[in-house]
Symmetry: C2
């Protein structure tokens, strides 16, 4: 079922819900759906349900909520993402969503940008990714936090650092599924040393300098492939 729409409210089987304007537009104009079509309805927080389009005209879209989907709780998978330029941040978030990241923390570091993308823009990108990949629960997004206190507060220590310029093979596997990706200018040698001294490992993603979105996707897959 690849037709997915959002409704920011409770999903109660048997009840009718009226979609907000952007979702109405998506269903009627972008996807050209029709009354009777079955869609997946997401509440944007954690839940999903099958739903049938009861009414779809130029003014409104009304759906009847069907059976709630059973959504397994995903295993924790954290991304610490140093602040990159806005487009790179948004592309990285999209990929992190698709690859099952459950929590994203914006990180300040020596070469990081000053601020993350606007929350409204982040939410649009997350929802687009959820709509595309079928994931009902968005990642939690927090920060920005400076690298040093983040490392100090994180428990248990561990994780993997995929900094684009510091390519080293990790000897031991990571103890927690946590990926740290650097900004465009990479981490400083000092920052890398602090990460390593806090129990993080470096993972090898090849000899070339990766952009942040590529490092995010490749680093997450690398983590997943660890025994």
């Amino acid at each position: 079922m690849s037709l997915r729409v959002f409704h920011d409210g409770a999903l109660v089987p048997g009840e009718l819900v009226t979609l907000a304007a952007p979702e109405h537009h998506y269903l009627a104009r972008v996807r050209r759906a029709s009354a009777g079509d079955v869609v997946e309805l997401l509440d944007g927080r954690a839940h999903a349900a099958r739903a049938t389009i009861a009414t779809l005209d130029a003014r409104r879209a009304v759906l009847r909520v069907g059976e709630l989907s059973s959504i397994p709780e995903p295993p924790p998978l954290e991304l610490w993402l140093a602040l990159c330029d806005v487009d790179a941040c948004l592309a990285a978030i999209t990929m992190a969503c698709e690859l099952g990241v459950t929590a994203i923390t914006w990180v300040r570091s020596a070469h990081a940008q000053a601020r993350p993308p606007a929350p409204a823009r982040v939410q649009r990108v997350v929802r687009a990714a959820m709509r595309q990949c079928g994931r009902p629960r968005p990642p939690e997004i927090s920060g920005p936090v400076a690298l040093e206190p983040l490392l100090a507060d994180a428990a248990p220590a561990g994780g993997v650092i995929a900094c684009q310029r510091h390519v080293q093979q990790s000897a031991a596997g990571p103890r927690v599924a946590r990926l740290l990706v650097g900004p465009e200018g990479g981490f400083t040698d000092d920052e890398v040393q602090r990460c390593l001294s806090h129990g993080m490992h470096a993972c090898s993603l090849g000899p070339w300098t990766l952009r942040a979105p590529t490092a995010v996707a490749a680093g997450l897959a690398w983590l997943r492939a660890q025994p």
Copy 2:
């Protein structure tokens, strides 16, 4: 050294080369370089050299070629990419370049698009990726080829299929470093069966439907992480 320019000709230490107009523009206007700056000069095929800017004005950029870089031959890493929409193809090529793919073959399949991006556009994207990631040798790009003869002709058989909708854990590791990624609509069950019967394995990249660029980056990293 992150300032890289292309010169489509022989790189002979000690000689002067005059850059073509787009490279002159990049050096003078985009990067605002100056005479005396040291850059990395790529011939766009396989070679790289240090070079010093001898003259840089509004009309031309002349560089003196220095020491040739020693470029290790990369291990073979093949990507078979089913034809997706143009933007997805180009994003996938960029990531494949960064992650060290040595050969890309466009693949026709049941749900694939009709044709690949124009060769000139592909070359621009490949060069941009090489400039960004520092890789001196571009991947070889061929096809499009239909999936069935490609499977039949490939020797040795093996590889990994990362089709966005057919997520299965491979029992055995891949014998060759070859990744097959499907089009937006995924592969048909029949296509997947043919791949598996030709010795390919399916790799697990998570429960959600991946876009092609994400599948490419994650699949390549997954391959790299195999023992």
